[in-house]
Symmetry: C2
Subunit: 293 residues, 2 copies
């Protein structure tokens, strides 16, 4: 398939490379930063604008930082929409605002294109290993068409429902992950300050209702003080921002998500934008003037 | 072993019955409420006071509602302490304040007794099935002595550390369970209100970092609206109270635990003291004037 791949950063680059290795023809854009050498060496064509890259493509994949980036690439000057052919499949794999996504999909459809939102979780490790979790919103038909591409990039691939629901699931995921990290932070810091061994407590709790992937993986990081990312606090902060702004539009209060976002701001205030998100516990430690270990 | 078992309520009754079935001689007290018939029929002796029940016992097991109950039975009139023989093992399986526990253990030791705190999780179902998780604080020697008793009542049995650390682990457990329930509530209500199918979202998220026992069990309860306990909000509210008062003594802020406790008060305000703790989501729904399903 002829694929315009827009956004070959830390995540997009290995994802694009898996598609290339599977025999797909990549079209990249170099006007903001040079196209990755290994993709060009592998046969990727380099265009000077998004519209040029998109004009002959069967599918367009976006892997961009945030909602305004996706909006600019889709609808700005020399953008996707200006070069879209009837039936071209636009797959937005960025993690962006679910409500904006529905509006974007409507405009792409009005221009004759097809749209899927397909945000991922699993981070750089998952992107490199082609083991990403992919949460998809869009029609059954478009989902089936994109599946051969998804299968080259991820493992746990689910169609949640109509357009926008992939982004909704991703936001829900980021809410739970942040709040489970915060929960483990409160519990282990409590245990340590009350005089118990947090490692023993974690071990005992893994056998019961407190068990979670976060207690397992991030609980261990808190105890061993290994706060290299992983997933950066600044990125998770962005995701909680999406949750809170969408929730506000919906008339929904997310009290603990709001609290966790504030604790991330505490981390950022102490130089932690680049810490792993498990370092959220440091905000609690900062307030208590005490550390788990 | 000759065991004074104080507190044969919903939890204590099946626990005592497992000990009796294993051949232990039970001594019960009837002065507050009659001793359970099936235990008396099984050969339990019934005393008129705690001190009478304790006077010839090798071990004393307490399974009482809250810290003041344990304090009264240990140190009040005709109490455990007044009848304690040298070396008698006092095992407090109630869920109470970890800091008070350390003080109680000190007073029992000063009177010549031995002390273990051994709170449980698993609820009435776990008590009946003898599959409770038991978190133990106390010396290795006392732990070894009590193990044959614990093994008749539970499955996942861990010595966390010195006296008080069983209660610390239990509090940590209740913090995580409450906050993971709240997290799943925020995420699934967000998903439903944003227009996605919360059941599909739950399913997709179970494969990644958001996976937890709570997402699995309580997430399903929220979607299916099955809010019969299980574990009552009023009891979990008591446990969060223990967390918050101990944390205050320690100089520790638990912002999301405090928030979750407030949401439990919202449930209680709406008649929910007896709802299952997964119904915590109803407080979020109440605020949003919207339900997951």
């Amino acid at each position: 398939m002829d694929i315009a791949f827009i956004g070959t950063g830390i995540m997009g680059r290995p994802m694009a490379s898996h598609l290339q290795a599977a025999g797909h023809q990549l079209r990249l854009v170099s006007h903001r930063s040079p196209a990755p050498e290994e993709l060009v060496a592998g046969g990727a064509q380099v265009a000077q604008s998004v519209s040029e890259a998109v004009s002959d493509a069967d599918a367009v994949i976006l892997m961009l930082p945030d909602t305004p980036d996706v909006e600019r690439v889709l609808f700005g000057d020399e953008s996707v929409i200006s070069a879209l052919r009837a039936g071209t499949l636009v797959i937005d794999m960025s993690s962006i605002d679910p409500l904006a996504t529905k509006a974007f999909a409507g405009k792409v459809a009005a221009a004759g294109g097809r749209f899927l939102d397909a945000p991922v979780s699993g981070g750089e490790v998952g992107a490199k290993a082609a083991s990403l979790t992919i949460m998809v919103g869009g029609s059954e038909e478009d989902y089936a068409r994109a599946m051969p591409l998804f299968e080259k990039m991820g493992k746990n691939i689910t169609r949640i429902g109509e357009v926008g629901s992939g982004q909704i699931a991703k936001v829900a995921n980021q809410i739970i992950v942040a709040l489970n990290i915060e929960a483990v932070g409160e519990a282990l810091l409590f245990a340590a300050m009350a005089g118990a061994d947090p490692a023993k407590v974690r071990e005992a709790l893994m056998g019961g209702f407190a068990a979670s992937r976060i207690l397992e993986v991030h609980g261990e990081r808190m105890i061993k003080r290994t706060f290299d990312p992983g997933f950066r606090i600044a990125l998770h902060q962005k995701d909680l921002g999406l949750a809170l702004s969408a929730a506000k539009s919906l008339g929904l209060a997310l009290p603990n998500t709001a609290q966790a976002a504030q604790l991330m701001s505490v981390c950022v205030a102490h130089g932690g934008a680049g810490w792993d998100h498990s370092a959220l516990v440091k905000a609690l430690e900062q307030m208590a003037a005490h550390e788990i270990a």
